[in-house]
């Protein structure tokens, strides 16, 4: 009997009101078709969403937590990067 695990997949769900897919967890599946069905069974039982993305975990690259200060802190004190000096008309939504 084999002790090999199926590949691990990361699951992203977009809710009915949402614009973006959110990461909700991971699961194991042998291929992408099974991964979508397993995601539907495990992560949308309670009407959490209407769209599923699955990505094999090995294809997800993440930033190193140790690099967080050099990656992200420099942006904190650069106010000129934020377009805060415009008057945005009311008719323009999602700005």
């Amino acid at each position: 009997m084999s002790n090999q695990e199926w590949p691990l997949w990361e699951v992203f769900i977009r809710s009915k009101q949402g614009l973006n897919h959110k990461h909700v967890g991971s699961l194991r599946a042998s291929d992408e078709v099974m991964a979508i069905e397993n995601a539907r069974d495990v992560y949308t039982r309670r009407s959490e969403g209407i769209s599923i993305w699955v990505v094999e975990s090995k294809h997800v690259f993440a930033s190193e937590p140790n690099d967080a200060d050099s990656l992200f802190e420099p942006a904190d004190s650069k106010v000129y990067r934020h377009p805060t000096f415009y008057d945005v008309p009311d008719e323009v939504s999602h700005m």
Partner: protein, 252 residues
């Protein structure tokens, strides 16, 4: 047979199929081969029990003797259940469960496609809701047949054994007698002509892709629709009915 009596018997048949198969699938809870399949299987079980609730509630109304869905589900004797023999077979290994499910789902999908057009509003509504669930069940079980059949040597051998064991129960899916005849003649349900051919076409295509061989022996089992069951139903009902009989009228 009058129409109301025929419709009661028909809805009871469909409800019992869903109830008994739903119960069989619930036996997998906590025992699935992997977490995701455990959840998938009990999801399907819950869907079927939900269908059974709708169907048996409607049956109770048609019968007109004051029985609700719980009384019908939990308090009958073995010979009063009208499910087909296929659904009371033991679960066996995961493959056998999937093969049983595959035969059932493919039949139910074709049947509900027709029943949504029934002029009986309640039956059509139940079929409409169940059809969405059934399409997913069918996708799930069909894919497992292909994966297991066209899989490893062991998975192929096991699923072929399951096909050999269960095929003889498949013809009962298409059993009809004066119950269905009365309803079709009076336009309560659409004709069931051609259903078996459509089922054969679909099932054979999937089994071919799964590199499986259909058994050639022609001997077929039936009897469930008339209350004549295999040795399995008695034991199944012992579990199914235990709580209601031990604690009458209990509520969660």
């Amino acid at each position: 047979m009058n129409i109301q009596e025929a419709l009661f018997q028909y809805v009871l048949r469909l409800g019992d199929d869903s109830l008994i198969l739903g119960h069989r699938l619930s036996e997998w809870c906590g025992h699935g081969p992997v977490l995701e399949e455990d959840i998938a299987t009990i999801n399907i079980s819950l869907d079927l029990i939900g269908q059974a609730t709708n169907l048996l509630e409607y049956a109770g109304k048609l019968e007109g003797k004051g029985r609700d869905e719980d009384a019908i589900a939990f308090l009958r004797l073995e010979h009063e259940y009208k499910n087909i023999l296929l659904v009371e077979q033991t679960n066996g290994d995961f493959g056998k469960t999937m093969m049983r499910q595959f035969f059932f789902d493919s039949y139910r999908k074709l049947l509900f496609d027709r029943l949504v057009k029934s002029p009986d509003v309640q039956l059509a509504a139940i079929a409409d809701k169940a059809l969405k669930e059934t399409k997913y069940h069918l996708k799930h079980s069909s894919e497992w047949i292909i994966r297991l059949g066209d899989g490893t040597e062991e998975s192929h051998r096991r699923i072929q054994d399951s096909l050999d064991a269960l095929y003889k129960y498949s013809n009962e899916l298409f059993f009809t007698d004066e119950v269905e005849d009365t309803l079709v003649e009076n336009g309560v349900i659409p004709s069931l002509d051609g259903l078996e051919d459509e089922w054969n076409t679909y099932v054979q295509a999937i089994l071919k892709e799964a590199t499986l061989t259909i058994p050639t022996n022609n001997w077929k089992q039936s009897g469930g629709r008339l209350g004549k069951h295999t040795e399995h139903l008695g034991m199944l009902l012992t579990e199914l009915q235990y709580m209601q009989r031990a604690y009458p009228n209990m509520k969660w």
